[in-house]
Protein backbone atom coordinates (compact mmCIF):
# COMPACT_ATOMS: atom_id res chain seq x y z
CA UNK A 1 0.00 0.00 0.00
CA UNK A 2 1.29 3.45 -0.87
CA UNK A 3 2.32 5.37 2.23
CA UNK A 4 0.18 8.38 3.01
CA UNK A 5 3.31 10.24 4.03
CA UNK A 6 4.27 10.69 0.36
CA UNK A 7 8.02 10.68 1.06
CA UNK A 8 9.25 7.86 -1.16
CA UNK A 9 12.17 8.89 -3.36
CA UNK A 10 12.56 12.28 -1.70
CA UNK A 11 15.76 13.57 -0.13
CA UNK A 12 16.34 14.41 3.52
CA UNK A 13 19.29 15.58 5.56
CA UNK A 14 19.43 15.06 9.31
CA UNK A 15 22.17 16.77 11.30
CA UNK A 16 23.54 15.19 14.44
CA UNK A 17 22.17 11.89 13.25
CA UNK A 18 24.44 9.21 14.66
CA UNK A 19 22.67 8.93 18.01
CA UNK A 20 19.52 9.67 19.95
CA UNK A 21 16.81 11.80 18.39
CA UNK A 22 18.75 12.43 15.17
CA UNK A 23 19.32 8.75 14.55
CA UNK A 24 15.68 7.98 15.25
CA UNK A 25 14.66 10.67 12.74
CA UNK A 26 17.03 9.25 10.12
CA UNK A 27 15.55 5.79 10.58
CA UNK A 28 11.90 6.83 10.37
CA UNK A 29 12.50 8.89 7.23
CA UNK A 30 14.44 6.04 5.61
CA UNK A 31 11.73 3.61 6.62
CA UNK A 32 9.31 5.74 4.64
CA UNK A 33 11.43 5.54 1.52
CA UNK A 34 13.51 8.71 1.70
CA UNK A 35 17.13 8.98 0.69
CA UNK A 36 18.67 10.11 3.96
CA UNK A 37 21.87 12.08 4.27
CA UNK A 38 23.19 12.01 7.79
CA UNK A 39 25.72 14.21 9.54
CA UNK A 40 27.94 13.45 12.49
CA UNK A 41 30.69 15.48 14.06
CA UNK A 42 33.38 13.24 15.48
CA UNK A 43 33.11 9.51 14.91
CA UNK A 44 33.55 8.56 11.28
CA UNK A 45 33.28 4.83 11.98
CA UNK A 46 29.96 5.31 13.71
CA UNK A 47 28.74 7.54 10.87
CA UNK A 48 29.63 4.94 8.24
CA UNK A 49 28.02 2.22 10.32
CA UNK A 50 24.82 4.24 10.52
CA UNK A 51 24.82 4.76 6.76
CA UNK A 52 25.19 1.01 6.25
CA UNK A 53 22.37 0.33 8.70
CA UNK A 54 19.99 2.63 6.85
CA UNK A 55 20.82 0.98 3.55
CA UNK A 56 20.48 -2.54 4.88
CA UNK A 57 17.41 -2.01 7.06
CA UNK A 58 15.36 0.06 4.65
CA UNK A 59 16.87 -0.47 1.19
CA UNK A 60 17.30 3.24 0.61
CA UNK A 61 20.21 5.34 -0.50
CA UNK A 62 22.17 7.04 2.27
CA UNK A 63 25.33 9.06 2.67
CA UNK A 64 27.25 10.32 5.68
CA UNK A 65 29.04 13.64 6.05
CA UNK A 66 31.38 14.24 8.96
CA UNK A 67 31.53 17.92 9.88
CA UNK A 68 30.89 20.43 12.61
CA UNK A 69 27.66 22.29 11.76
CA UNK A 70 29.21 25.50 13.08
CA UNK A 71 31.80 25.34 10.29
CA UNK A 72 30.11 27.29 7.52
CA UNK A 73 32.52 26.10 4.84
CA UNK A 74 31.89 22.47 5.74
CA UNK A 75 28.13 23.03 5.64
CA UNK A 76 28.47 24.67 2.24
CA UNK A 77 30.52 21.74 0.92
CA UNK A 78 27.92 19.27 2.12
CA UNK A 79 25.07 21.08 0.36
CA UNK A 80 27.15 21.52 -2.77
CA UNK A 81 27.55 17.76 -2.85
CA UNK A 82 23.83 17.24 -2.32
CA UNK A 83 23.15 19.69 -5.14
CA UNK A 84 25.56 17.97 -7.53
CA UNK A 85 24.28 14.50 -6.79
CA UNK A 86 20.55 14.91 -6.21
CA UNK A 87 19.69 18.40 -7.52
CA UNK A 88 17.04 18.73 -4.84
CA UNK A 89 16.32 18.60 -1.14
CA UNK A 90 12.96 18.00 0.47
CA UNK A 91 13.53 17.79 4.22
CA UNK A 92 16.06 19.25 6.65
CA UNK A 93 16.03 18.13 10.26
CA UNK A 94 18.15 20.63 12.15
CA UNK A 95 18.94 18.39 15.07
CA UNK A 96 22.66 18.81 15.81
CA UNK A 97 23.12 20.41 19.18
CA UNK A 98 25.09 20.34 22.38
CA UNK A 99 23.97 20.71 25.96
CA UNK A 100 26.38 21.90 28.62
CA UNK A 101 24.99 22.88 32.01
CA UNK A 102 26.39 25.74 34.06
CA UNK A 103 25.03 28.03 36.73
CA UNK A 104 25.20 31.69 35.74
CA UNK A 105 28.47 32.56 37.51
CA UNK A 106 30.14 29.54 35.93
CA UNK A 107 29.39 30.33 32.30
CA UNK A 108 32.72 30.75 30.51
CA UNK A 109 33.11 32.66 27.28
CA UNK A 110 34.36 29.50 25.63
CA UNK A 111 31.27 27.56 26.66
CA UNK A 112 28.99 30.38 25.58
CA UNK A 113 30.59 30.55 22.14
CA UNK A 114 30.56 26.79 21.68
CA UNK A 115 26.89 26.31 22.51
CA UNK A 116 25.70 29.30 20.51
CA UNK A 117 27.91 28.42 17.54
CA UNK A 118 26.66 24.85 17.26
CA UNK A 119 23.04 25.27 18.32
CA UNK A 120 22.26 28.58 16.60
CA UNK A 121 24.81 29.33 13.88
CA UNK A 122 24.85 25.71 12.79
CA UNK A 123 21.08 25.69 12.41
CA UNK A 124 21.12 28.92 10.41
CA UNK A 125 23.88 27.74 8.07
CA UNK A 126 21.89 24.61 7.29
CA UNK A 127 18.69 26.62 6.90
CA UNK A 128 20.37 28.95 4.40
CA UNK A 129 21.62 26.28 2.05
CA UNK A 130 18.70 23.91 2.46
CA UNK A 131 16.13 26.58 1.68
CA UNK A 132 17.88 27.46 -1.55
CA UNK A 133 17.82 23.87 -2.72
CA UNK A 134 14.20 23.52 -1.68
CA UNK A 135 13.29 26.74 -3.44
CA UNK A 136 14.07 25.19 -6.81
CA UNK A 137 11.10 22.87 -6.47
CA UNK A 138 9.06 25.35 -4.50
CA UNK A 139 8.61 22.72 -1.84
CA UNK A 140 10.27 21.60 1.34
CA UNK A 141 10.04 21.12 5.07
CA UNK A 142 12.53 22.31 7.64
CA UNK A 143 12.23 21.00 11.17
CA UNK A 144 14.23 22.56 13.96
CA UNK A 145 14.69 20.48 17.09
CA UNK A 146 14.25 22.94 19.92
CA UNK A 147 13.50 21.97 23.52
CA UNK A 148 11.01 22.45 26.26
CA UNK A 149 13.90 24.27 27.97
CA UNK A 150 13.85 26.84 25.18
CA UNK A 151 10.22 27.63 25.99
CA UNK A 152 10.25 27.55 29.77
CA UNK A 153 13.89 27.59 30.92
CA UNK A 154 15.65 25.56 33.57
CA UNK A 155 18.13 26.45 36.25
CA UNK A 156 21.68 25.74 35.22
CA UNK A 157 20.74 25.92 31.57
CA UNK A 158 20.74 29.63 30.79
CA UNK A 159 22.93 29.27 27.72
CA UNK A 160 21.33 26.08 26.47
CA UNK A 161 17.85 27.55 26.90
CA UNK A 162 18.92 30.70 25.07
CA UNK A 163 20.10 28.62 22.15
CA UNK A 164 16.91 26.56 22.05
CA UNK A 165 14.72 29.66 22.38
CA UNK A 166 16.66 31.09 19.45
CA UNK A 167 15.60 28.11 17.38
CA UNK A 168 11.99 29.05 18.03
CA UNK A 169 12.64 32.59 16.81
CA UNK A 170 14.44 31.23 13.79
CA UNK A 171 11.48 28.97 13.09
CA UNK A 172 8.95 31.82 13.25
CA UNK A 173 10.98 34.19 11.08
CA UNK A 174 12.02 31.62 8.51
CA UNK A 175 8.46 30.31 8.25
CA UNK A 176 7.25 33.79 7.31
CA UNK A 177 10.07 34.40 4.88
CA UNK A 178 9.94 31.04 3.15
CA UNK A 179 6.19 30.50 2.96
CA UNK A 180 5.98 32.15 -0.49
CA UNK A 181 8.39 29.48 -1.71
CA UNK A 182 6.11 26.81 -0.23
CA UNK A 183 8.85 25.87 2.22
CA UNK A 184 7.49 25.10 5.64
CA UNK A 185 9.47 25.65 8.83
CA UNK A 186 8.42 24.18 12.14
CA UNK A 187 10.02 23.31 15.44
CA UNK A 188 9.66 20.36 17.74
CA UNK A 189 10.22 21.00 21.42
CA UNK A 190 10.99 17.71 23.15
CA UNK A 191 10.49 17.31 26.85
CA UNK A 192 12.59 14.82 28.78
CA UNK A 193 13.77 12.20 26.31
CA UNK A 194 15.78 9.07 26.97
CA UNK A 195 19.03 9.88 25.15
CA UNK A 196 22.73 10.01 25.91
CA UNK A 197 22.19 13.57 27.12
CA UNK A 198 20.41 12.34 30.25
CA UNK A 199 21.66 8.78 30.64
CA UNK A 200 24.17 9.75 33.30
CA UNK A 201 21.65 11.45 35.55
CA UNK A 202 21.43 10.00 39.07
CA UNK A 203 18.51 7.65 39.66
CA UNK A 204 16.73 10.04 42.03
CA UNK A 205 17.02 12.87 39.51
CA UNK A 206 15.59 10.65 36.80
CA UNK A 207 12.73 9.68 39.10
CA UNK A 208 11.97 13.31 39.88
CA UNK A 209 11.95 14.11 36.22
CA UNK A 210 9.57 11.27 35.52
CA UNK A 211 7.25 12.39 38.31
CA UNK A 212 7.10 15.86 36.75
CA UNK A 213 5.63 14.42 33.56
CA UNK A 214 1.84 14.06 33.44
CA UNK A 215 2.05 10.84 31.43
CA UNK A 216 4.53 9.41 33.97
CA UNK A 217 7.09 8.23 31.53
CA UNK A 218 10.23 9.65 30.03
CA UNK A 219 9.89 10.12 26.29
CA UNK A 220 11.70 8.09 23.68
CA UNK A 221 13.52 9.30 20.59
CA UNK A 222 10.71 7.68 18.59
CA UNK A 223 8.18 10.01 20.23
CA UNK A 224 10.11 12.86 18.63
CA UNK A 225 10.87 11.25 15.29
CA UNK A 226 7.20 10.37 14.75
CA UNK A 227 6.39 14.07 15.04
CA UNK A 228 9.26 14.85 12.68
CA UNK A 229 7.79 12.32 10.25
CA UNK A 230 4.45 14.11 10.35
CA UNK A 231 6.10 17.49 9.77
CA UNK A 232 8.19 16.06 6.93
CA UNK A 233 5.20 14.60 5.18
CA UNK A 234 2.39 15.91 3.05
CA UNK A 235 0.04 15.29 5.98
CA UNK A 236 1.31 18.58 7.38
CA UNK A 237 1.43 20.51 4.12
CA UNK A 238 -0.55 23.44 5.56
CA UNK A 239 1.41 23.60 8.84
CA UNK A 240 4.19 26.14 9.22
CA UNK A 241 5.65 28.38 11.91
CA UNK A 242 4.56 26.06 14.70
CA UNK A 243 6.35 24.79 17.78
CA UNK A 244 5.05 21.37 18.70
CA UNK A 245 5.76 20.31 22.25
CA UNK A 246 6.35 16.58 22.58
CA UNK A 247 6.67 16.24 26.32
CA UNK A 248 4.07 13.88 27.72
CA UNK A 249 2.03 16.75 29.08
CA UNK A 250 4.89 18.06 31.20
CA UNK A 251 3.57 21.60 31.22
CA UNK A 252 -0.19 21.44 30.82
Amino acid sequence: MESSFNLKGKIAIVTGATRGIGWSCAKVLAKNGMTVIINGVSDNNMLNQRVDELKELYGVESEGYLFDVSDSNAVKDCYNNIFKKYKRLDVLVNNAGIMIDALIPMISNEMLDKILDVNIKGAIYNLQYASRLMGRNKSGSIINISSIIGRFGNEGQTVYSASKAALIGITMSAAKELAPQNIRVNAVAPGIIQTDLIKNYAADKTMKLRDSIKMKRIGTPEDISNTVLFLSSSLSEYVTGQVIGVDGGMLI
Binding site: K76, Y79, R132, L133, G135
Partner: protein
Protein backbone atom coordinates in the same frame (compact mmCIF):
# COMPACT_ATOMS: atom_id res chain seq x y z
CA UNK B 1 18.79 29.61 -25.13
CA UNK B 2 21.76 31.96 -24.69
CA UNK B 3 23.13 32.75 -21.24
CA UNK B 4 21.68 36.25 -21.53
CA UNK B 5 18.27 34.77 -22.30
CA UNK B 6 18.63 32.48 -19.30
CA UNK B 7 19.51 35.39 -17.03
CA UNK B 8 16.54 37.37 -18.28
CA UNK B 9 14.31 34.36 -17.82
CA UNK B 10 15.49 34.05 -14.22
CA UNK B 11 14.57 37.66 -13.50
CA UNK B 12 11.23 37.41 -15.27
CA UNK B 13 10.31 34.21 -13.47
CA UNK B 14 11.39 35.39 -10.01
CA UNK B 15 10.34 39.03 -10.13
CA UNK B 16 7.63 39.06 -12.76
CA UNK B 17 9.22 42.06 -14.46
CA UNK B 18 8.98 43.14 -18.08
CA UNK B 19 12.05 41.80 -19.93
CA UNK B 20 12.64 45.24 -21.45
CA UNK B 21 13.40 46.58 -17.97
CA UNK B 22 16.19 44.09 -17.28
CA UNK B 23 19.23 46.24 -18.01
CA UNK B 24 22.61 46.04 -16.27
CA UNK B 25 21.60 48.90 -14.01
CA UNK B 26 18.41 47.23 -12.77
CA UNK B 27 19.19 46.85 -9.07
CA UNK B 28 18.06 45.54 -5.74
CA UNK B 29 15.50 48.00 -4.38
CA UNK B 30 14.15 48.85 -7.82
CA UNK B 31 10.65 47.91 -8.92
CA UNK B 32 9.69 44.40 -7.67
CA UNK B 33 13.23 43.50 -6.52
CA UNK B 34 12.76 43.57 -2.76
CA UNK B 35 14.21 41.48 0.05
CA UNK B 36 11.54 38.80 -0.21
CA UNK B 37 11.91 38.52 -3.98
CA UNK B 38 15.68 38.28 -3.65
CA UNK B 39 15.44 34.72 -2.39
CA UNK B 40 13.28 33.73 -5.33
CA UNK B 41 15.73 35.42 -7.69
CA UNK B 42 18.71 33.54 -6.26
CA UNK B 43 16.86 30.26 -6.58
CA UNK B 44 15.81 31.09 -10.12
CA UNK B 45 19.34 32.03 -11.25
CA UNK B 46 20.77 28.90 -9.65
CA UNK B 47 18.18 26.75 -11.38
CA UNK B 48 18.69 28.40 -14.78
CA UNK B 49 22.46 27.89 -14.69
CA UNK B 50 22.54 24.72 -12.59
CA UNK B 51 24.88 26.18 -10.00
CA UNK B 52 24.89 26.73 -6.27
CA UNK B 53 26.20 30.15 -5.29
CA UNK B 54 28.35 31.00 -2.31
CA UNK B 55 26.55 32.92 0.42
CA UNK B 56 28.81 35.93 -0.20
CA UNK B 57 27.69 35.97 -3.82
CA UNK B 58 24.05 35.84 -2.77
CA UNK B 59 24.68 38.89 -0.62
CA UNK B 60 26.62 40.66 -3.41
CA UNK B 61 23.93 40.05 -6.00
CA UNK B 62 22.77 43.65 -6.20
CA UNK B 63 22.18 44.35 -9.90
CA UNK B 64 21.93 42.64 -13.25
CA UNK B 65 25.48 43.78 -14.01
CA UNK B 66 26.68 42.29 -10.74
CA UNK B 67 24.86 39.06 -11.54
CA UNK B 68 26.91 38.79 -14.72
CA UNK B 69 30.13 39.30 -12.74
CA UNK B 70 29.11 36.66 -10.22
CA UNK B 71 28.17 34.17 -12.92
CA UNK B 72 31.60 34.64 -14.49
CA UNK B 73 33.09 33.27 -11.25
CA UNK B 74 31.23 30.05 -11.99
CA UNK B 75 32.54 29.92 -15.55
CA UNK B 76 29.35 31.32 -17.08
CA UNK B 77 29.88 34.19 -19.47
CA UNK B 78 26.79 36.28 -20.09
Amino acid sequence: MSNLDKLHAAFVEALDVDPSGITDSYSYGDDKWDSVAHMALVVSIEAQFDIMMETDDVIDLSSVGKAKEILAKYGIIV
